[in-house]
């Protein structure tokens, strides 16, 4: 039985993502509204079109303030690192 440091009031721990181009854009934008474990658990089964649809939904339906060039980087990063079939 081993354990980490003392419990805090709420234990959100950092969720690491694969080191690759575009990671900062993902961390800066996506993590504003939700933890990054969403991306990891939703993988790998979305293709590029699937990740594009998710990012588009976050922007147009949920109002995430993501600049267009950042959105492209995010889709590129997620498709390449957490997607299937390029």
């Amino acid at each position: 039985m081993m354990l980490m440091a003392a419990a805090s009031a709420r234990a959100e721990q950092p969720v690491s993502l694969k080191e690759a181009p575009g990671r900062p854009a993902v961390e800066e934008n996506c993590a504003a509204c939700h933890s990054l474990d969403y991306l990891r658990t939703n993988s790998p089964f979305l293709d590029r079109k699937g990740w594009q649809a998710e990012v588009t939904k976050m922007i147009s339906v949920f109002g995430a303030p993501v600049a267009p060039e950042a959105a492209k980087m995010i889709v590129d990063y997620l498709s390449a690192n957490y997607g299937i079939g390029g």
Binding site: N42, F62, P65
Partner: protein, 411 residues
Amino acid sequence: MLNRRRVVQGLGGVLAVAVPGLAPRPAFPAAPSYLTFGLPGGEYDTAVLDALPGKQLLIKLSYRPPNYETPVPFFASPITANDAFFVRYHLADIPEKIDLPRWRLRVAGDGAANPFELTMADLENGFEQVEITAVCQCSGNRRGLSDPHVPGVQWGLGAMGNAVWRGVRLKDVLAKAGLRKETVEVVLNGADGPVTDKTPDFIKSIPIWKALDDNTIVALRMNGQPLPHFNGFPARLVVPGWTGTYWMKHLVSIDAVAKPFQGFWMKSAYRIPIGKFPVIERFLSQETDATTPITEMVVNSLTTMPVEGQRFDAGQPVDVGGVSWDGGYGIRFVEVSTDGDETWHQASLGRDDSRFAFRPWSFRFTPAGPGMHRIIAKATNRVGQTQVDKLIFNPAGYHNNVIRPTTIIVA
């Protein structure tokens, strides 16, 4: 604008406290024993056991907003303990604490002739207190088992729980509001909300006939205690038979309305294709030609014992057990097959707390000989609905009641 009431906090948390029936977590688990088979690959190295304040170790699917499911061994008890009950939020601005003396429940809307506000004392003293045992199950429970996978919180088997809910009938509250006869829906909102003001707040409606059902209550207590914070303290709606999406947590307003509510969480989310599922209670004021709001739960079962891969000695009897539930018609029988699905035997049904509750069942058999044995349980409810052999695919991964085998090894 970002409104981050809930700030990310640093390291913390605990790991290896015992969850009944679970082995201690190995250092580098290939597939942690608390996760079932069939989930997306990324879940196996991401979901961990973690405890929210006031909760035991549950399976953490996301930290923020918190989505935590109950490990299967807890369902060996037909009542799910408050501190083991699953946690589901859509949006991350969750009140840290509800200040009860200041908390008010507002009852209004264009369908209410006499709008008013209630304090907790008003709710506790001004209305008859009623109690009902009922299953609260997330619409997306088992979404992670969809084949093909679909995006969303990748729930395994534990986005559900069964509790004794105590509170006041919603119809008694509405009666004080002087309901106008043109009321079609009742709209519910909770104190939690989005992190940016561009995100649609989580607001839901139910049809007026369901709001006036004797069994629909504003719950103040759960299993004899105040609601846990993460299950909606101080008051949540309980809509027995219907999926958790309508069970609004941290209730702050109830609006009777004369026109169908148009919010995102009704018009676009939590919808199923028309005609694909055997639904009796429909939400007609929200229905379109193509889709309809999810309403009642489909009949389903969970086998809690034996566990996948469990070993038995040849000649040793095997006790099979679990729980079944449905949309409130009640479980008529549960069948168990121990030979693939060649022959079926009726299980013994356990205590019947209500037609909305988990119905425990059990069956004992002695495997014919050494080898792998596949055990399947299948429930049928009192209106003749049963579990499906093959997934009824839908894009949001709702209503997954596919029969699910457990394989044991006899040697």
